[in-house]
Amino acid sequence: MVKSTKPVPDSMTPAPFRVTARRQDLADTFTIELEAADSPRGFAFRPGQFNMLYHFGVGEVPISISGDAGAGKLIHTIRDVGAVTHGLSTLKKGDMVGVRGPFGSAWPVDAAEGSDVVIVAGGIGLAPLRPAIQHVLDNRDRYGRFVILYGARSPKDVLYLPELQSWRGRLDTYVDVTVDHAESGWAGNVGVVTKLIERANFDATHAVAMLCGPEIMMRFTVAELTARGMDRGDIHVSMERNMKCAVGHCGHCQFGPKFVCKDGPVFPYGEIEALLKARGV
């Protein structure tokens, strides 16, 4: 992963990328691997940033970068929820897609060095956090305890299961997974993701938390983390709003006085707490 936030030269014109691989992760979620069609140059991004993916003839959507496959290949994990994401779900190896980006703020992986790191993800929210997880694992000796907590709807909705298992297999990482409902064959936890926080071992006064998932989950998670003694400034959340330009011009992603595309999507919780609690923002 190269450290630069600069978008590709013309941030309003999608660059053509070719699909080099496609995997169906869950019934409604898939991962595509992309490579720049003209010059397969390195794609510089920071964990937490997103791209605008343009499905020709259908439209454009913001999608977080969920990893790099090396050699300048980009990875996006996408949930098929509507017109554009459904269009993207039909892409096959060799098909083309337009890419603008990377845009937005990043997870504070550098600032978190020397601290415990607590990742709390819900549903597809694990995708934008995966580059941050990878970064911590690749530089494991720079961080204190590393805790990954993940909640999904049911066992068949658990994203990146093989990776969760391999992270859990490491002696230096604590991984706990829960689902909202399950049949009795499931050997894991059942209950909300906030419950996992009680059992995880980290020093709340020397930790940085990174949260991504439904806003309601993030609100409850923040309540649990602050009850444990964490400072709001050490909790970072990734926000989603509809987007169009992605560069702070159109106002589509406005969230109170902030633009999610430019000031976010990753915010220190203290900065947006009031907005999250306000109705209709």
């Binding site: 819900g122 709807r153 009795s184 064959g185 059942v190 209950g191 439904p214 309601i216």
Partner: protein
């Protein structure tokens, strides 16, 4: 067989009793029993008389609903440091779900009838115990609501 002093020590180690006055805890340990269950065993079945209340010391259990003709649905899993079984507090004193053990689990149980007798005599102890129950129940209720909200499902359309 664990003696009452031993049981008091086990109760003292459980977070539910954090900061509880020693005399009160000792009184409660008179109703306590140390228990151990293996994976697949049931602590209770729906409809059974609810005469005990449990503190999980270590292990994992599942609260389940039996659905005729289908696999049971797991409502929640509980681990060390948690408590379960309020049914002894409320008539008709019957379990409202099955309790299945997921892995080797150590529990301390309190006898409901014994407790009711003590609480009737000692209201201060009753108040102390209820003050500890209520936050746990409130948290469980709030978690259950969050679980029901299907928060990982589709968010609503603007204005929906």
């Amino acid at each position: 067989m664990v003696k009452v002093e031993g049981l008091d020590k086990l109760l003292a180690e459980h977070p539910f009793f954090d900061g509880m006055n020693e005399d009160m805890r000792k009184t409660l340990s008179g109703c306590a029993r140390n228990e151990r269950f293996g994976p697949g065993e049931f602590v209770a079945h729906e409809g059974d008389p609810a005469d005990r209340f449990y503190f999980v010391r270590a292990g994992a259990i599942a609260l389940e609903f039996h659905v005729p003709g289908c696999n049971p649905i797991v409502l929640e899993t509980l681990h060390g440091g948690e408590v379960f079984g309020w049914s002894w507090l409320v008539p008709p004193y019957a379990w409202t779900y099955d309790i299945r053990v997921l892995e080797l689990t150590r529990l301390i149980s309190l006898d409901g009838a014994c407790l009711r007798k003590k609480l009737n005599k000692d209201h201060e102890l009753g108040f102390e115990l209820y003050s500890r129950f209520v936050p746990v129940m409130a948290k469980r209720l709030s978690s259950a609501r969050l679980q029901l909200s299907d928060m990982y499902g589709r968010p609503c359309k603007k204005g929906e």
